[in-house]
């Protein structure tokens, strides 16, 4: 190398991104985060990850699935590898309407079904056609992080509504709607996960569902019902969907990610005619059509394989893992830690001893080779503080022994943080109300 030339300082600095002046306002919240960096470590096998909600697809009969794919390509390859309809493959929509939706008590027509690239795309499409920047969306406290990301991308304002051990609190919903009404703000819809909630792990009972629908009806509030876990109740009972009792106001989102294969990215929306037409146009603008290969594979799997037996296998597997998690938490977690007891799905919501901050604690957890999702991830904007002392544990992916080991490690981390807190006292952040707080202030579902 020769001697470098003597450079002179530039008049303007570099920001290392030539598109900086081009980005939309909505991209400003898309920034690098320490949390995301720590999750990079969680992908290593040394770390017991109780963070991600990855379905345990290894439990699928992979040879049979392979045979389904082989036959699909051999016999219908030209169709499976071609573009399809923006609304989704007719055969699959017929199965969704005829097979899946009746299980949650919904009677619908295949024409009212729009197949999407996972229900995540359904969330995106629904928000796209319903929300302008600044619109208010109601969501449970806490709510699914992927939905909150969509709502943020469309620059909506999320208002969280308190939950209790039966999920969304109708009284809190009524109070929130009344308060917003007094401010002249009318939410576009309520986003809710009534069954086996992500992240809260709680389920709305039949009366609770009626009460929630009644409040929504009295305020003329549409409902976006996200129901990916409905078939994964450990007692084998499939909860009746909200849409079953209000087909005019409830948009229903379903998914094959948890009952078959998340990697195929196939979900669906059931919506009234007008909404459905706009969803199809929005979907075509977004992706032209969902993967025909994935749709036909799901369709073939439903018609050729004992898929319902497989759902039962998944249920039993997740129940065993849920039990392992609950046993381990009871055995290891220090006093003052509480959690929800899920009756299905993938998650338990854990409330840490008062004053602890799960986001701050994550670094120590990763050092101890265990990972979780901090509770603040499930709240939007300024409400993130409400999730500070909470975290979500997923039991769907690690086997029971790994779950027990993960909780044992987590317990040592929590204990160390309690010790740290005892040394330094609680930080300056807002106090998180406990069970004694007023319902609208309660940051998350009641834990026991």
């Amino acid at each position: 190398m020769g001697d470098p030339p003597t450079p002179t300082p530039p008049a303007r600095g570099s920001r290392l991104d030539p598109f900086l002046d081009v980005y939309a306002q909505r991209a400003r919240t898309m920034i690098a985060s320490e949390i995301r960096a720590l999750f990079s470590v969680a992908s290593r096998p040394e770390v017991v990850s109780l963070a991600g909600g990855m379905p345990f697809v290894s439990a699928l009969p992979l040879d049979a699935v392979a045979e389904t794919f082989r036959r699909l390509i051999a016999e219908r390859g030209a169709a499976a590898l071609q573009y399809g309809s923006g609304q989704g493959a007719v055969a699959l929509r017929e199965q969704i309407a005829g097979l899946l939706m009746p299980m949650v008590g919904v009677s619908t027509h295949p024409d009212d079904v729009v197949v999407t690239v996972g229900s995540q795309q359904a969330l995106d499409l629904v928000t796209r056609i319903l929300c302008d920047p600044g619109d208010v969306v109601l969501a449970e406290a806490p709510s699914y992080v992927g939905a909150l990301s969509v709502f943020a991308a469309y620059q909506t304002s999320v208002v969280h509504v308190a939950m209790d051990e039966q999920g969304l609190d109708p009284q809190a919903l009524r109070e929130t709607l009344t308060r917003l009404g007094q401010q002249g703000r009318k939410p576009k819809f309520l986003y809710t996960i009534p069954s086996f909630h992500n992240p809260a792990g709680v389920t709305q009972g039949p009366q609770r569902r009626r009460d929630v629908l009644a409040v929504c009806s009295s305020f003329g509030l549409p409902v976006l019902e996200d129901d990916p876990y409905a078939l994964l109740g450990f007692d084998g009972v499939v909860p009746r969907a909200l849409r079953a009792d209000d087909a005019d106001s409830v948009l229903y989102l379903g998914s094959f990610s948890k009952t078959f294969a998340s990697g195929l990215r196939v979900g669906w929306v059931v919506a009234p005619h007008g909404v459905r037409e706009k969803l199809v146009l929005a979907a075509e603008a977004s992706v032209l059509c969902p993967s025909e290969l994935s749709q036909l594979a799901v369709s073939a799997y439903l018609s050729e394989q004992p898929w319902w037996d497989q759902v039962k296998v998944f249920r039993e597997l997740y129940r065993e893992r849920r039990d392992a998690l609950l046993d381990a938490m009871a055995s290891y977690l220090p006093a003052g830690t509480t959690w929800t007891v899920p009756e299905g799905g993938f998650y338990s919501w854990v409330q840490l001893p008062p004053g602890l901050d799960a986001t701050t604690m994550l670094a120590r957890a990763v050092t101890a080779r265990v990972a979780y999702v901090p509770g603040s991830a499930f709240y939007s904007g300024a409400a993130k503080e409400l999730g500070a002392a909470s975290l979500r544990l997923s039991y769907c992916y690690p086997d029971p022994d790994r779950i027990r080991e993960g909780v044992r490690r987590l317990a040592s981390v929590v204990t160390a943080e309690v010790d740290l807190l005892a040394t330094f006292g609680p930080g300056p952040g807002p106090a998180v109300p406990g069970h004694g707080g007023s319902p609208s202030d309660v940051p998350g579902p009641a834990t026991a």
Binding site: P4, P9, L16, A32, A363, L421, P426
Partner: protein
């Protein structure tokens, strides 16, 4: 052996909190050398690594692991144990450089200014009472304070404390990343990083890179979100001050016994005095990192520079 026949193993990833940064550093350096026709592989640090390295003892190893084990000398001890040539400082120097309080002591002994500080383990706060100790820290060092883990990088666990009421939360955040905290008097001024490369007989300082984060603090988000920080390379410093900074980085590099490359982080105060904060033996090489910007500002090519470092390591041997 010419560069085109050279085989290089870039080590990136690992289990530290900076795994993600390391993976990106590794990819970038690997691509820069592949662009020069070099056979480069990127390996994570896991149970299969030692066997893979031992199977090809003629490769030159480029450790780009950030954080513990990558920068604290442990991995480099292993490379020496295996008799492998590698780019960068030896284990003994890394052990001192990675430990910020120790590095500050060495830098001060070499005549550099470094902010007054105290390094305290968590147990000391528990034994002596945190409230009294924190009050003493504020009284002695003054406000604002910089709190950061004694070991580690990328500003993880670091915070600027502007009022005494914020100190407990900063300590808790810091101790989540490590057992010892460095509490340092905050020096206001221009943040400048000076990279040092040593590809010949004499180490030389590359142009300093000035860091102006939008939020005022060069935290993790400001470091790795493209656009969140404005960089000036070279830094907007009086030439004499720039020269003082260059000398400070070279002094730190030499005093700590570093080899091949390093990056020294400085704050230049209103009087033009550079204050030594820390030195990095495996500086970041990502798209937003400071070392590659210094390389560009010097009119050099990152791939060519890394080839020079690799060839030097090969000549040096294990």
């Amino acid at each position: 052996m010419s560069g085109h026949e050279r085989r290089v193993v870039v080590l990136a990833g690992g289990l530290s909190h900076e795994r993600d940064v390391s993976l990106r550093s590794g990819r970038r350096v690997a691509e820069s050398m592949r662009g020069k026709g070099v056979d480069v592989s990127v390996s994570d640090v896991d149970g299969s690594l030692l066997a893979a390295l031992a199977a090809d003892a003629s490769s030159v190893v480029v450790p780009l692991l950030h954080g513990a084990s990558g920068e604290d000398g442990a991995l480099r001890d292993v490379l020496e144990l295996l008799g492998l040539a590698y780019v960068g400082s030896g284990p003994a120097a890394c052990r001192v450089a990675f430990d910020k309080p120790a590095a500050k002591t060495v830098a001060a002994a070499a005549g550099l200014c470094t902010p007054a500080s105290v390094a305290l383990p968590q147990t000391t706060f528990r034994e002596l009472g945190a409230a009294a100790l924190m009050a003493a820290l504020v009284d002695t060092l003054g406000l604002p304070l910089m709190v950061k883990p004694a070991r580690g990088g990328s500003s993880l666990g670091a915070a600027v404390v502007r009022s005494a009421a914020d100190l407990p939360a900063a300590m808790v955040g810091c101790f989540s990343y490590g057992d010892t905290a460095l509490v340092e008097r905050f020096v206001a001024g221009t943040e400048v990083a000076v990279s040092v490369v040593d590809t010949g007989e004499q180490a030389r300082a590359l142009p300093g890179v000035e860091v102006v984060p939008d939020g005022g603090f060069y935290d993790y988000s400001a470091r790795y979100t493209a656009g969140a920080t404005e960089f000036f390379a070279p830094a907007r410093l009086d030439p004499a001050v720039a020269e003082t900074c260059a000398r400070a980085a070279l002094t730190a590099h030499a005093a700590l016994g570093l080899r091949d490359l390093s990056r020294t982080d400085l704050i230049v105060d209103a009087d033009g005095v550079p204050w030594f904060l820390e030195v990095n033996v495996a500086p970041g090489m990502t798209e937003t990192s400071l070392f590659p910007q210094a390389v560009s500002a010097a009119g050099l090519d990152l791939g060519e520079l890394w080839l020079s470092l690799v060839e030097q390591a090969a000549l040096r041997g294990p």
